[in-house]
């Protein structure tokens, strides 16, 4: 067991956990941030995606000890003062979900993509999101939602 100071969604939190415990378990089981999901534990599905210093990472493959110095953002941290982020809003508007279990991870991956590439081509969207699985097969709408979020951000910036 080790003591860690984490910066999660802008709040500093202290946790005690084994050094090799995945960040995913720390978020879900110790901090009760259950919006981040378990899907495979081997970095293959993207359900557990969070942002580490703005970049999409698989929290199931990130030991808590490695996350201690980073700024961590989870799905719970995207909404600001009751306003959804452009990606969240786009997922809602496109209804780019069925059971919604993949949705958190999808939104985090898309957020990471758009922060680096505000105007992605379809190939770039597919390339960046391909590590995220939607078993309900909502892919076409998810691509649509990412496009929509990109447009919304563009308009907002003008």
């Amino acid at each position: 067991m080790g003591d860690y100071v984490l910066d999660v969604n802008g709040t500093v939190v202290h946790v005690t956990a084994p050094a090799d415990e995945p960040l995913l378990s720390v978020l879900r089981d110790r901090l009760n941030l259950t919006g981040t999901k378990y899907g495979c534990g081997e970095g293959q599905c993207g359900a557990c995606t969070v942002l580490l210093n703005g970049v999409a990472m698989r929290s199931c493959r990130t030991p808590v000890s490695a996350a201690a110095t980073a700024k961590i953002v989870t799905i719970e941290g995207l909404e600001r003062h009751g306003v959804l982020s452009p990606v969240q809003q786009a997922f809602l508007d496109e209804e780019a979900l069925q059971c919604g279990y993949c949705t958190s991870g999808m939104i985090m991956s898309a957020t990471s993509l758009l922060s680096k590439t505000p105007n992605p081509t379809d190939e770039q969207i597919v390339g960046a999101m391909n590590g995220n699985v939607c078993r309900c097969g909502t892919y076409p709408r998810i691509v649509e939602a990412v496009r929509r979020a990109a447009h919304a951000a563009e308009k907002g910036a003008q």
Partner: protein, 719 residues
Amino acid sequence: MNSHNIPELENFQEQYWNHSLKLTVDRRNFLRLLGGGMLFCLSYTPARAQESGRNGGGHELPKDISAWLHIGADGKVKVFTGKVEVGQNIRTSLAQQVAEELHVALESISMVMGDTALTPYDMGTFGSRTTPTMGPQLRTMAAAARQMLIEMAAERWQVPAEGLKPIQGKILDQQKSRWIAYGELTRGENLVKVVSGSVKLTPTSEWKVADTAASKVEGHDFVTGKHVYPSDIVRPGMLFGAVLRPDGFNATLESLDTADAEKLPDVKVIRDGDFVGVAGADASIAKKAIVALKAKWNTPVQISNSELFEYLKKNAESEDDSAHRAGSVEQALANADVKVESKYTVQYIAHAPLEPRAAVAEWNDGNLTVWTGTQRPFGVREELAQALQMPETKIRVIQPDMGSGYGGKHTGEAAVEAARLAKAAGKPVKVVWTRAEEFTWAYFRPAALIEVKGGASKDGKLVAWEFHNYNSGTAALGTPYDVANQLVQYHPVRSPLRQGSYRSLAGVANNFARESHMDAIAHAAGIDPLEFRLKNLQEPRLRAVLEAAAEKYGWKNAKATPGRGFGIACGTDKGGYVGAVAEVEIDSASKRIRIRRIVQAWESGAVINPNGIRNQISGGIVQAIGGALFEAILFEGGRILNPRFSRYRVPRFTDMPDIDVVILDRKDLPSAGAGEIGLIGVAPAVANAIFAASGVRIANMPMAPREDVPGEAQSTFKS
């Protein structure tokens, strides 16, 4: 644990209802169909299911309005149903139907679903039954409630009910220009009235809410991570549980040394026969404890993929009287100008819902509450009662909207495990299956061996049809084409792997075989595959979707080239009709197959929420691509060899074709469910497209696996 067949109620229901095929099943047949050896669901007896017909497990559906809906003093409407939301959007579509009949705003309705303490008994959410049965049930109750509210207002005002109208949660007396809100009438009291006889429902042609593309209720919670899934449930003082899994299927525990595990801090090891589990303060310690257990298992010799189809053929428990026969296939084949005979195979595949099985169990004074992800909360309550030897009345099962199931979560394994661990630990326990556990210890979509013989005359008239399905089931078993001489038979087998329901059940396998075979006959006779189908098809609804799909694709003017081809297929099941055209591209060097486009025309009666339906159909198509091209469970010696996403390939973004969905809305026909049949046209359309592009007919599903499947001829293609 024994490998065995999970009760397939859909199968049963199909057989019960499919009069055209005369496959009515008696008690004995049904038991045989289930293949004995059931460890749980013991009270899930066929006799009970049979008595109950559509409505549920020997449990009479309550006829009281108050069992189904409640209107609070504030006008908020609560609707109670034992159905569960798993992504198919019925929380929204059912609420829309209630809003329609009750004349209230959609936002004022909240659905209470899948809670055995609060909702009427329900057999489960499967078989695309929600829309055709639960929809009308709730509409009936809502319409009766509306009528009752009108009468209450009439009484209060001492005016005839005929002059009053329900509008947006109020009863309006136009003559006197006055109104009264529903909540004011009920004051939150139950609407006590037994609904008997038929209640007049709003005709679908007059719908204003039910057929709109209303957006998903509670959508906001899903995009913010607030929605609480079964695996997210937390209870005060909760421990984390894990279960020791055998080395292989059907293994027995020979010896167990728990000393090391018990040395770990705050870990409790629980053993009950072959069930061994642990409960600890967090998931990490529970996992460590499982690893520290030293167990020796005896695993019997078992078959693998390589012997699968031989096994299915040899172990069929066929009964002559279960066959559908007409005319003489033998004679007709002898006289046919064109004859084609083929064998099709379909591998076991996994549902792999993204949220694996999960449950939290909590005991209070001998009463048990379990939160779990299941398509059958009442079925899980039965399982728990059986496993823990206690009355159902002391058990409550709650089903939070879950990370889907696709027919794969009919059972309550995690619920039983959590309940046992919680009982022994004296604290609430959460069990979340790992992906490997979900891949191994859930159940699979049945494998299929299908043998087909077909014959046609020179001018393209289908004259003979013989079709044998081994193991996978009866969904869409019969041919929708007109053929005088037929022999169609399902041969049940005691499956070597634990198998059960899957979205569309055997519909995928049976349509794959039939529509591939129709294509093969068309090519052998030198007739366009679409023309050949239409020539032999009278069913107008099926013709309509077939023609609509061809039209949308541009079938008439399309030309296949080497490396690029298109194929067509159609099918019907559970009251829905689907026509599909697929276009594939095959790279000449790598032999890699890409599906470029899928057009699917769809008709399932009157459309309820076209937005939800589109999502379901498109999702069904995507899921079907996996089974068609690359999904396969590899198994050997009682073990699953590929129980993870890195070896079990599922459809991803890069696999997406362009998808065109054409919905034919038949307002004049009752609504059928949409969750399943979206899958059945894809595999055969793709197979036929591959043939058009390459001249190679692939008769094994998956058609282009990433890893070779032992026992199958190596596929020419890759995906």
